[in-house]
């Protein structure tokens, strides 16, 4: 792809120095997929909310691009903005979201959860388990979910995740540990 010969740093410089909107659009095009997909995970599959937050993320990135010091990768910086936007939004909607999630999980537990025996073979079982995992992520706190998504799905180190989540490395490790304990308990409960 001819466009990829231009580095992120060159595009950022064009935006900062010349307010080049085309350069910024190219940056959005490069990272929209990973940011939107991450936010879909963080919002437990709420695509409309994820896209709204992704748009907010890129607009914030545009406004604050001058303050980007290139100490982290551009993608990591975007993840930080996206995670902050998600956590701020989650704080605002906490009550509403919590109610919905509990009700949804309770409903799923009763009716929609496929029995482990429905699937035949290891592959089908693993596939079912992954679908269950996606749903089980909804029972985690926002911090735990963000830590798991950043460390596993976005493959960030604990240090990078701490930068993205704006918290100490120890907190990331705690979120991971607790998140995995909850996931394990939830998945085991569904499969017994």
């Amino acid at each position: 792809m001819a466009q990829s010969t231009v580095t992120d740093a060159q595009l950022i410089a064009r935006v900062v120095v010349q307010d080049d909107r085309h350069a910024f659009s190219e940056l959005v095009r490069r990272y929209q997929s990973i940011i939107r997909a991450t936010l879909r995970r963080l919002t437990a599959g709420n695509h409309a909310l994820a896209d709204d937050l992704a748009q907010e993320t890129f607009l914030l990135a545009y406004r604050n691009l001058k303050s980007f010091r290139q100490e982290a990768r551009f993608s990591t910086w975007l993840h930080r903005i996206a995670t902050n936007a998600f956590l701020a939004d989650a704080r605002k909607r906490k009550e509403e979201l919590l109610g919905d999630t509990v009700a949804e999980v309770a409903d799923d537990d009763d009716a929609e959860m496929p029995a482990a025996g429905d699937a035949t073979g290891d592959h089908a079982r693993a596939s079912n388990l992954r679908m269950d995992l996606e749903r089980a992520m909804a029972v985690l706190s926002e911090g735990e979910r963000a830590a798991i998504v950043q460390c596993y799905h976005n493959d960030l180190s604990h240090e990078e995740a701490a930068y993205v989540l704006n918290c100490p490395v120890g907190t990331v490790k705690t979120h991971l540990l607790r998140g995995k304990q909850k996931l394990k308990a939830q998945l085991e409960a569904w499969n017994t």
């Binding site: 997909a37 607009l59 406004r63 693993a126 992954r130 596993y152 998945l187």
Partner: protein
Amino acid sequence: MTERPDTTDDWLERTLAADAQEFRAGYLADDGFTARVAAALPPAAVALPAWRKPAVFVLWTLIAIGAALALPGAALDVAWESLSFLARHKISVTDIASALLALGAASWAGAAFALRRDD
């Protein structure tokens, strides 16, 4: 991820790893997202023409000269009145020092306020 405390034979670790692999392999089509972001960007600042600053300077200079010509003697009157006012009132060294100190403090406070960082 470089550090992972749990062992890889844990079924949850395997499931998370497989899920993460599938997640990274996926690509979301743009579907107009980039265009929506571009449309939501704040309007571009209108660049001011290069001749604007010198033109403003020349204009104010002309206004000042015009005012000076239209009001002959006004500046001289102000200067004489100021001198006679100062002559009528005795100003001690302490007064001057106090005034300088107050001016200095105001300047430093102003500079500190202007250079503050909003961290």
